[in-house]
């Protein structure tokens, strides 16, 4: 099963952001979307989520056009993890995760015992079940990111799309979230995330998609795509490489 954007032109009614884009997220794979600010990452993400209609081209899920699917069915296929936010009301962590079950009930339905069970299971999966009755507004940024991830999983989707999952996290939590992303793909989900750090793509992704000024510079397995040349072209900046003698792992440094 694949989310596939074919010959996409993306943007808003008053502004074209990118065109000629072909992108696919397959189950069991992690696709990292990299590029400078304003390059179209978020716009492409929203288009593939079905939140923004493509200006040209189509997005297909299982060969069905995504934008023709009912909104609830889309939510059962693709879970969305937004950037960590503060939240307006002090909902409990459990309430927040239960919102992920919205697409599985009718418009008037109260959360069922089954919904609660699944929500708790997802919290447990990330080791934060003890936070269930805490206010979402009072937990740390790293915990919030995990709660939003648990909420997306509570949708029981086939794909998970994350918008800069590491942007506001400390060093340790970045590693933890990257590890969870890898685990999701191993569990058979298709994962796509945007990031500003090529090292995160290197660590967690199987494929990378480089987006600059609304066009694709390179796309393919991370080992082929994440090279010094490609990254320098992507960010128009100098890039250095560090290599671990023992494992052969590579890390990039800007400047």
């Amino acid at each position: 099963m694949t989310i596939e954007g074919r010959n996409l032109s993306i943007g808003y009614p008053d502004r074209l952001v990118g065109s000629g884009l072909n992108v696919a997220v397959r189950e069991g794979e992690v696709l990292a979307l990299l590029g400078p600010n304003g390059g179209g990452k978020t716009t492409l993400l929203k288009t593939l989520l079905g939140l923004l209609a493509p200006r040209e081209g189509t997005v297909h899920v299982m060969d069905k056009p995504l934008h023709d699917l009912p909104i609830a069915e889309r939510a059962r296929l693709i879970g969305y993890v937004p950037q960590v936010h503060q939240g307006t009301f002090a909902f409990t962590v459990e309430s927040v995760v239960l919102m992920g079950r919205t697409a599985h009930g009718s418009l008037f339905a109260a959360p069922s015992a089954h919904d609660r069970e699944i929500s708790m299971m997802m919290l447990d999966r990330f080791g934060i079940a003890s936070l269930a009755q805490r206010a979402y507004t009072e937990i740390s940024g790293g915990e919030r990111q995990l709660v939003l991830l648990a909420r997306a999983l509570a949708q029981e989707p086939r794909f998970i799309v994350l918008d800069e999952p590491t942007a506001s996290l400390d060093f340790g939590n970045q590693g933890k979230v990257m590890k969870e992303i890898g685990a999701l793909a191993e569990a058979g989900l298709g994962v796509m995330f945007t990031t500003h750090d090529p090292n995160h793509a290197m660590r967690a992704a199987t494929r990378a998609y480089l987006l600059r000024d609304g066009t694709c510079l390179a796309e393919g397995p991370v080992a082929d795509v994440l090279t010094v040349d490609n990254l320098e072209a992507l960010y128009r900046a100098n890039v250095q490489t560090l290599r671990d003698e023992r494992t052969g792992a590579v890390a990039f440094l800007p400047g």
């Binding site: 808003y12 009614p13 929203k46 989520l49 939140l51 909104i71 609830a72 069915e73 889309r74 939510a75 059962r76 693709i78 879970g79 969305y80 937004p82 936010h85 503060q86 307006t88 009301f89 002090a90 909902f91 409990t92 309430s95 239960l98 919102m99 992920g100 919205t102 697409a103 009930g105 418009l107 008037f108 339905a109 109260a110 959360p111 003890s130 936070l131 009755q133 805490r134 206010a135 507004t137 009072e138 909420r151 949708q155």
Partner: protein, 369 residues
Amino acid sequence: MLGLVPGIHVFHTIALKTWMAGTSLAMTVIEAMPRSTFPGTLVAIAVLVAGFAVAFLIGRFPVSAGDIVSVLWSKVAGGASGVPAATEAVILKVRGPRVIAAFLVGSALAVAGTAFQGLFRNPLVSPDILGASSGAALGAVLGIYFSLGVVSIQLFAFIGGLVAVAAVYLIGSAIRTRDPVLVLVLAGVVIGSLLGAGVGLVKYLADPYNQLPAMTFWLLGSLAAANVSDLIPLFGPVLIGSVVLLALRHRMNAMSLPEEEARALGVPTGWLRVAIVAAATLVTSASVATAGIIGWVGLVVPHLARSLVGPDFARLLPVSAILGGGFLLFIDTIARSMAQVEVPLGILTAVIGTPFFIWLLASVSKTWS
């Protein structure tokens, strides 16, 4: 001394650690228990029952609890109540309708306020954010200006509220942006101030001896004129609107998230927003048409309810309705019994609401940020 200080220090450290361990254990236990909303709900129900009792019992004409029970029972079971006719008339024709009107208006404003605070993701929003009150005010002062009857004035106010919000909504949805909610609020603010100018113009043109006092009195809000015939035009819209809002309460949690996040969860935000705005406008306009403009209830009561049962709309919305009814019963009882003349409700709610809200800001602001 030198030997003693580290000893004390060690002792303190151990004591502190034990104490902290105990606290953290206690915290874990408290956190592990589901936060029950039951006590908070009971408090709201108690406020409502007390509000009904106080509103029926207190007044210039003395009525006892026994009289009320006998009269109500005779209505249910048939037969004579054995209560003097004058007392029965006060209970059924004067105080009764006013009590029911106060309950309905209070509930309606609180439910609409709660729904709007969620919809607009802002705890400082009140039911008139989209111009329902300003539209109703213009409708009412126009009705008074044209010397219409009471029923027509109410109808003008009701329609004024609906038309104002419809206009705001059309303007808001005509302007395409990524944040439809913000545009809606801004459209509400500008249309509201335009309608306010309209009210000012009508007051300026009105006859200063007959019409202007009537307009001023109406704009300050009162239930003094509430009678049996008012209840049906109030009850119908309030019931319909409240049922719609209560039916959608399980989706309001997700509706209080940013637009795109809610849609990614599978919430049809577009038409759900129309439904919530329409229902809240229906109950607000009907309330304002009956009671005039009563501020603060729709702003303060949702906060009170939130401090009782937490922010989950599934429980918050019904508790707001109960609490709002009880709240306005108390306020209205004070309004008609504290002085020789009736104190306008709008003034009372502001006098009580302002310090209360400041206290709320200082003490429980953590429930929303």
